[in-house]
Point group: C2
Chain length 195, copies 2
């Protein structure tokens, strides 16, 4: 669609590549917007140009994260099984390969951090809910020890509404090393421990 047909292969001239990127990006975003309206669909698009600039599209009433979450849920089970397999694979690594991984630990920590930011919203909810629960416990004269126990085998408190299967696969203690997690930025001590 232009004065001449072009082959679909990398445009070597950087300027032309940039111009084409800009024009075609606009075109795809428009198509995406039309699709969401015409077909009542949810669409999320993330693009990075070869120069590193990023652009996004997202259907109304949500955001990229919301659609990514929905995507994760949609493929959740298969992802979980996949990662079990990956665990088995890693168990077979040689010591030299572990040395290599050690070299990459900082990069891994960075990505771990980035992903963890996504959980902050939920952890805040959990924390506040926990505090409310603790208050209720004390009002009712129940145990003095702060404790939170989620269990669908029958005993204890099960969360009230919609206790499902997903939580059963997940068991972790998460202990922020400082109370004001968000207050700290650069220059603190950092401690990540897996036992």
């Amino acid at each position: 669609m232009g004065r001449g047909k072009i082959e679909i292969k990398r445009i070597e001239n950087a300027t032309n590549r940039q111009v084409t990127y800009s024009k075609r990006r606009t075109g795809i975003m428009k198509k995406a917007r039309e699709l969401t309206v015409l077909c009542d669909a949810q669409v999320a698009i993330i693009m990075f140009s070869s120069t590193g600039k990023y652009h996004e599209f997202c259907s109304p009433s949500t955001d990229i994260k919301g659609i990514f979450d929905r995507y994760q849920q949609a493929i959740g089970t298969s992802l979980w099984i996949e990662q079990q397999r990956m665990g088995e694979d890693l168990d077979g690594l040689e010591f030299d390969e572990l040395r290599g991984l050690e070299q990459n630990v900082d990069a891994a920590l960075k990505e771990y951090h980035v992903i963890s930011t996504q959980t902050e919203t939920y952890k805040k909810k959990v924390k506040h809910s926990y505090e409310a629960y603790k208050t209720l416990q004390q009002e009712l004269g129940l145990c003095e020890e702060p404790a939170w126990f989620v269990d669908n085998t029958g005993g204890g408190w099960d969360g009230g509404a919609g206790a499902g299967a997903a939580a059963d696969m997940f068991a972790f203690r998460v202990v922020p090393s400082q109370p004001n997690l968000h207050g700290m930025a650069y220059g603190g001590n950092h401690d990540l421990r897996l036992g």
Copy 2:
């Protein structure tokens, strides 16, 4: 582009909507593929039809998660600040609202779990790297106590390569409540604690 011009508004006939979704989805995916090749760009697309089916596109040499991670890094700082604000907002919640959150805690746990699955890959790397590091420490006759300390202020081990700013904002202890995290599925005790 068709026998007639169409208005960009929701297609009410469900069949036509589905047909149009399918055709236009194919078109957008093709455009995206062309863009990645022509312009050497990274593109991720997630789509959900009005019936809930999902489709994805992703440029070669990566996956949706990889591009989403890169996206998160690109907007990381602003996200972080946003969540600080959210924390402040939550601090102003009334007790009744906290009760409401308590009702939702199980749903929050589920979503927390889903997002946490993303971190498993990195945690595995971290765990193996930690084990390798511990072994090296013992070989060198250093401290007996298993400990992992990431710190770029000068002392200690800093990860070797590419220590950057992101890790500085993050401080968490993560303690799996069971050694074989992936081996357990349904029916165990579950313990998530925020201090």
